[in-house]
Point group: C2
Chain length 381, copies 2
């Protein structure tokens, strides 16, 4: 696709229409002019994270997706199940840009010194509206990548790395001493394995497939349980008793897994108990749900006494809670370790146009391990 | 029944047997001799609270209960569903006394001054093993009831009153400004209505029947929603928007109610929101599950963003958390208001022997509103 209208660019948009359908399209909008404190980045790499899909798909059932538009300007429409319409009421008929994070090259800079200093640099940013060819942003929001780092290597500097760091930090703040993580073979999960090894945090990884077990053991994971194994609960109880992990982070959300973790934590705690308590152990057990790979309801059997909690967890409020200074330290660590601890990998690099093709959506919409896509809007130029 | 063996008494016992059954019986044990710091109380009133039934029934399915033994020494046996056996592993083959709280008259006292001062006094105690004719306990654990208060009036001085006070206190400590309460027509619920009126705390009451609505409005409740009404969710959202209540206490536990409260809180919060947030409102919503009227799993639809939590709540850890001084203040308030704010009522007064009859169990085991039983072991003398 050639840019037939100089001074303009393409930007991916998601709209929940009042007829109960979702529409995805590529808008043509002006390339922004930078304010004095701003720079303009040519976006060259932006991952499709699970946290992007909520905004992108707007609760639509993507198995109903159909394509229209043209080859250069594809349009996707899908139906939103009625039960989810209340959730998306607040965004009706608003054409919303998508894409939390990404990296690219600074091609224009405002007049300020700070902005001018970034010209030509490869930077990573978190700010939304990254599924676009160009993005204006305040210079101070840019994380300058170490020399020799490509946009692809720096594309995922924020969401996953800060989430992994946030999990370990939350563990310390909430007074726990070990972690449980589900969907543990994801890019994020692999980062968490490396981070916990580096920081000496006991980590119990839960996966669903033998090859995911192997993958994690291959990068050094000590405790890996397969939830599809018939002896899953017994294995989980054993490693929880070993590690003393009492805080879980669950990306699955729906179904029984979060509750099973609490059940197993309680059983592990009871192993060390000396007398029966009708209210269960006094060991506090908690699971944060930070993703929704399964959209169905969370089922809690409540067979783990009364010292338990389940709740939502989200990165931005966590960063707000710990404050700018503490958050900045985490960001600096990410930049320093972007090619090691916090390295990501992708199955495929696609253009914006390709992101709106049914066969692509069928793959990245699954959020399957090892099938993560990276959008490179430079391919649309 | 006459006491044919002087110096002995009857005490209700609950045993989970290793064959997977529950056995309830009346043991004959010595009447205790008081230690110097202790008194012996002739128990004359002890309520059957929902919090007693967990220990009493040991997760057994009471619809399978069968009677044996004699008229004077009844025995009840019931089956425990296999899925619950893990939960009661810790109490296998232990014959356990039951009954959290009660009131009676001090009939013997140890040599200490504090104990002697209580002779003949009507006192309330919390300490377990109250479903018995006599109970020895430290003098300092006795709450002396105001002159003219009967054991029946003082029987339920602790569990419900302190729970109601604990809910209001937890609300303040957790930074909320209004409460939601389910099974709100219970004795506890009625106390909470009176307490919140007295303390000016916005309270949303959820009940299941029109007559319960009437009952609560009759004692001054402003906001009452019937979960069986077809317009329940709309009504709940409206009163939550009015009251700004963001903390719920749920006695039901199983099913969808706890989640529906979070859904409604989120909808109420969104009413005041000015722009759409894909992660839901930033208003933190919480439901504590403090009972289990429905034993089935808790179902959370998670359609309320990420700023939410659900967890267990239990009185003793709460009292421990606030410390002795603060807890003592709450107890003194209960004694002062035992005939008003914290008054309880009972459908029937039964003996220990009657407590082990199938027709009684069929009633008090239901934990239905207005069918609360009081055990008076003096009737067994």
């Amino acid at each position: 696709m050639t840019n037939q209208d100089p001074g303009t660019q393409r930007q991916l948009r998601s709209t929940v229409r009042s007829d109960g359908t979702l529409e995805l399209s590529l808008a043509r909008i002006p390339i922004p002019e930078p304010e004095p404190e701003e720079v303009v980045i040519r976006v060259e790499a932006s991952p499709i994270n699970p946290s992007d899909l909520g905004l992108l798909f707007g609760m639509a059932d993507m198995s109903t997706a159909r394509a229209s538009g043209t080859a250069e300007s594809p349009v996707i429409v899908a139906d939103i199940p009625e039960k989810f319409l209340r959730v998306v009421q607040g965004r009706l008929d608003q054409s919303m840009p998508v894409g939390n994070e990404g990296a690219g090259v600074v091609v224009e800079a405002g007049s300020s010194e700070q902005a001018q200093a970034l010209l030509g640099k490869t930077v990573a940013i978190l700010g939304g509206a990254m599924y676009a060819q160009y993005r204006a942003i305040k210079a101070k929001q840019c994380l300058v990548l170490p020399e020799g780092t490509t946009p692809t290597e720096g594309a995922a500097c924020f969401v996953n790395p800060l989430t992994a760091l946030g999990m370990a930090e939350t563990m310390r703040l909430d007074g726990h001493t070990g972690l449980v993580h589900t969907a543990a073979a994801s890019n994020l999960g692999q980062m968490l394995v490396k981070l916990c090894l580096a920081d000496d945090v006991p980590l119990v990884n839960i996966v669903r497939k033998p090859e995911q077990e192997e993958l994690l053991r291959g990068i050094g994971a000590t405790h890996v349980c397969n939830s599809a194994s018939p002896s899953f609960m017994d294995e989980l109880i054993a490693v929880l008793a070993d590690t003393g992990a009492t805080l879980g982070f669950d990306a699955v959300g729906g179904g029984k897994l979060a509750g099973q973790i609490l059940t197993a934590m309680e059983a592990a705690a009871s192993k060390n108990a000396t007398e029966y308590s009708r209210y269960g152990s006094s060991v506090y057990k908690h699971v944060y749900i930070y993703g929704g790979l399964e959209r169905g309801p969370t089922e809690l059997a409540r067979n783990y006494g009364t010292a338990w909690g389940v709740g939502g967890w989200l990165l931005p409020p966590f960063l707000q809670k710990i404050g700018f200074e503490a958050a900045q330290k985490l960001r600096q660590r990410v930049a320093a370790e972007v090619k090691t601890t916090f390295a990501s990998s992708y199955a495929k690099e696609i253009s914006l146009v390709e992101a709106l093709q049914l066969d692509s959506i069928a793959v990245y919409g699954k959020q399957a391990t090892g099938e993560k896509y990276l959008i490179n809007p430079k391919k649309d130029l």
